[in-house]
Symmetry: C2
Subunit: 415 residues, 2 copies
C-alpha cells in the first residue's frame, strides 16, 4: 500500500563488515528479499579490504585447492563463499549481499546507508563519501560512541548527518551480533524521526498510508535534522516512514521498536559501555549478582541524568529506562559483552584492561574505555563529575586513581 | 538530634528466620548496635521451631559432644552458636539477635516488626498476633507476593496492615540473601510513607529534626495507611522518619533508598518472579543474553502497566524503572534467583518446574509459580490478558498450553 505510485526502489548499502556489520547485512538482505516492492534486491556491503587466509578449521578450507594456505582478499572470498570467515565465521549470509571494497562505489546511488563502522573510522569514511552519494540519501547509524571536541559532545548520527548533509537515525539495542547472526531471538530500538517530506508521500485519494498514521503526532526536530539542509526524497521512491524503516530491520527473531529519540538511542549505546566496565570490575571481585545489579541500576540513572542535562530538548527518560537501547542493552552488555568480560578478567588476573584488550580482542578495541575518557573529559570541563559518580569512578579506575573495591563508597548516596 | 526528648527506644522483632529473615536479623542487629539512642540493643527473631541435626560438615559439629547426631531445637541451637545452621549456614549472626520460637512473646512490646515470612504463612501468623502487639507498632514487609481474592488483588503490606491494624511499609530490592549475609555490596528500596504523627515529633524550639525535612513534600495515603485507624506513636519514642528508618537498614554494604510508593515496591517484588521464570525458560533454550534481556525489558514494561492500571493512585513508573526493587531486582532475579534457575533447569532437562522445585529447593516453594497463577486469575477476570502477553505466556507455559519457544511470537509487538 505504501508503495503506490512509487517507481523506484530503495538501494541499501551497509557501510562496514565487522561481526555486527556482516550480521546487519544478513538481516537486511533477508528483509529486502521479503519486501521486493520497496527495496532493490542486492544489498551492498562495504568491506575494508584485507588479506585473509582460510583457517584450517573452517568449513571452507580445502587442502586440495591451490589457494589453500594462501592469502586472499576478504571481499573476494566473501563473494565466493558468502561468509565473512574472519569476523563472522560459520554464518552463511544470503547471496544477495555483495561485498565491495570501494566505499564510494559501494554507496553510489544508495538511498539508505547503514553505518556499522568502528567509531574511529566514521570521520574518514564520511569524508570520502562527501559529494559522492545521492543528496537525498538517508542514514542509520549503528555505531556506538561519542565525540568530545571543543564545541561539546557530539553523537555519531549527528556527526554522520552533518558531514554528509543527510538525515541520520540510529539503531541500538541489546544486540550481541553473534547471537543475532544465529537467529536467536532479540530486540532492538531504531530511532528514526523522518523528515516530514519523506513520509507525507502523495497517495491516491481515500488511501491513507500507514506512514501517515505513524505521523499523526508531530515529531520534534533532532540534532541531525536541525543542522542539515535536507534534500527531499523524490516522489518516485517509497516513503521512508516508520512502517517502511521497520520493514528493513524487523525479523521474526529481531523485534524492532521505533522511537523518535535519536539522541537518546545513540547516547544509550555509548554510555552503556561505561556501565559494563563498572559491572565487570565488580564482578571480577566476586561480589555477586546483587552488586552487579546495583551498579547497573546506578548506571542507568546516570544515563538518564546525562541525557536530560545535556540534551534537554530531545532526550526522553523512557528511552533509557524502557527501550532495548537502554535498560536491555545495559543488561546484555553486563552479562556477556566485551567491555564487561575484559574488565572482569582484568580484575581477576590483576592485569590492566589494556593488556587484556590486546590478548583477547584479536586486534579490535574496546569502546568502553575510550567512551569513559571522552565522557570524563566532557564532565570535567564544567565540573559535573560529582553528579556522575559511577562514570567518574570508572574513569578513575582506568587511570589508576581508584580501585574497583572503592565503587560502593564512591557511588554511595548521601542521606 | 532526632531523639531529643525521647525516653524510650524502639524494640525490633524480625518475624521469620529463613535465609532472608536470618540475614535481615544480622544487618538490623548491626544497626541497632550502631544506633543505641534509637533502638533497644536486642533484636528478637521469631523462629518457626523445628528439630535439626548438625550436619557433619558444619563448623559446629563436634563428634565428641553427646548431642552430636541428635536432633536439637533450631531456636536453642541458634542462641547457642549464633548461626542458623539450617537456612543460613556458615554465617555468624551478632549475639544481640535472640531467637524465640513463640511469635507472641517475640513480638511483645516491639514497636518495629519486620515480616520476612513465606507468603503463605502471613495470614496465620498475623492472626496469632492480633491484640497481642502494641497498638502503635509499625511493620515493614519483606515478603513478596500478591493475594487475589473475591475483592481483587491485595499486596502483602496491605494484608499485614489491615489484619494488625498498624501501618506497614515494604522492603524489596536486588537482594539475594546469601550475598548480603556475606556482606557483599548491594542496594535495596524501602517504601515507608510514615503516618505524619510518627514523624512530626515535637522538638525543642529552633531544632527542626531531619525527619521534618524529609516530610516537606506531603505524602499520599497508601493502602495500609488508608484502611487502618492508626494509633499514634507515643512521644517518648524517637520518630520513625525516613531518616530513622534508613538507620535501621542501611549498611556500608547494603545501600538503602527510601521511597513513598509502598504498592509499587511490593508489586515489583512479586511480579519480578514471573519475569524470572520467563527469563529462565528462554535461557534454558540456549537463546543467549539478547533474548534474556528482551524478556526482562518486556517484563519491566508489563510491571509498569500493571501498577499504573490497577494501582493508579499510588504507583509510580520510576519505582519499577529506576529503583532497586524494580529494574535491579529483575536483573538479579534473572541472573541467579531461584525462579530463574528452576525454570532454566526445567527446560534444559525437559522436566516440569514442579519436579525441579521438589528436587532442588530443600522443601521450599517457588514464589514465581504461585504469583503467576494469582496474577493470571486476576487478569483473566476482566479480560486484561492480551495487554500482559508475557505474564500470560508464563502462565500458559506452566499450564502446558504453550511452549517456551513460543515466547517471541506471543510477545511480539504488532506494528
Amino acid at each position: 500500500m505504501a508503495t503506490l505510485g512509487a517507481q523506484r526502489k530503495h538501494k541499501v548499502t551497509v557501510v562496514g563488515s565487522g561481526n555486527w556489520g556482516t550480521t546487519m547485512s544478513k538481516l537486511v538482505a533477508e528483509n529486502v528479499a521479503a519486501n521486493p516492492t520497496l527495496f532493490e534486491q542486492t544489498v551492498t556491503m562495504w568491506v575494508y579490504e584485507e588479506e585473509v587466509t582460510i583457517p584450517k578449521d573452517s568449513r571452507h578450507y580445502d587442502p586440495s585447492s591451490e589457494r589453500a594456505n594462501k592469502p586472499q582478499k576478504l571481499s573476494e572470498l566473501f563473494n565466493k563463499v558468502h561468509e565473512n570467515i574472519k569476523y563472522l565465521p560459520n554464518i552463511t549470509v544470503p547471496s544477495n549481499v555483495v561485498a565491495n571494497p570501494d566505499v564510494v562505489e559501494a554507496c553510489r546511488d544508495s538511498t539508505i546507508l547503514i553505518f556499522v563502522l568502528p567509531h574511529q573510522f566514521i570521520p574518514r569514511v564520511c569524508d570520502q563519501l562527501v559529494g559522492k552519494i545521492v543528496p537525498y540519501a538517508r542514514a542509520i547509524c549503528c555505531t556506538k560512541g561519542v565525540d568530545v571536541g571543543a564545541e561539546g559532545i557530539k553523537l555519531m548520527p549527528e556527526a554522520i548527518g552533518m558531514r554528509l548533509n543527510i538525515y541520520c537515525g540510529a539503531l541500538s539495542g541489546a544486540n550481541i551480533a553473534t547471537e543475532i547472526a544465529q537467529e536467536k531471538y532479540s530486540e532492538t530500538t531504531v530511532a528514526y524521526d523522518p523528515p516530514p517530506m519523506d513520509s507525507r508521500h502523495p497517495t491516491p485519494k481515500g488511501s491513507p498510508t500507514a506512514s501517515q498514521v505513524d505521523l499523526i503526532s508531530p515529531s520534534k526536530p533532532i540534532p541531525s535534522a536541525r543542522s542539515a539542509h535536507l534534500k527531499p526524497l523524490p516522489n518516485e521512491y517509497p516513503p521512508l516512514s516508520h512502517e517502511n524503516v521497520r520493514k528493513l530491520f524487523h525479523r521474526p527473531y529481531f523485534h524492532v521498536r521505533i522511537v523518535d529519540d535519536v539522541a537518546g538511542v545513540s547516547l544509550g549505546g555509548a554510555l552503556k559501555n561505561i556501565i559494563a566496565l563498572a559491572a565487570g570490575f565488580v564482578d571480577g571481585l566476586g561480589w555477586g549478582d546483587n552488586a552487579k545489579a546495583a551498579v547497573m541500576r546506578v548506571g542507568i540513572l546516570e544515563m538518564v541524568k546525562f541525557g536530560k542535562r545535556f540534551f534537554p530538548d530531545s532526550v526522553k527518560t523512557s528511552t533509557f529506562t524502557e527501550e532495548s537501547c537502554g535498560v536491555a542493552d545495559v543488561v546484555t552488555s553486563c552479562m556477556g559483552g566485551r567491555n564487561f568480560r575484559c574488565a572482569k578478567m582484568a580484575v581477576e588476573r590483576g592485569e590492566s584492561i589494556y593488556d587484556i584488550e590486546q590478548k583477547v580482542l584479536n586486534g579490535q578495541k574496546l569502546q568502553g574505555t575510550s567512551t569513559a575518557y571522552e565522557v570524563h573529559e566532557f564532565l570535567r570541563r564544567d565540573n559535573h563529575e560529582a553528579d556522575f559518580p559511577l562514570f567518574t569512578a570508572v574513569y578513575n579506575i582506568l587511570e589508576g586513581n581508584a580501585k574497583p573495591e572503592d565503587i560502593p563508597e564512591l557511588i554511595e548516596p548521601k542521606p
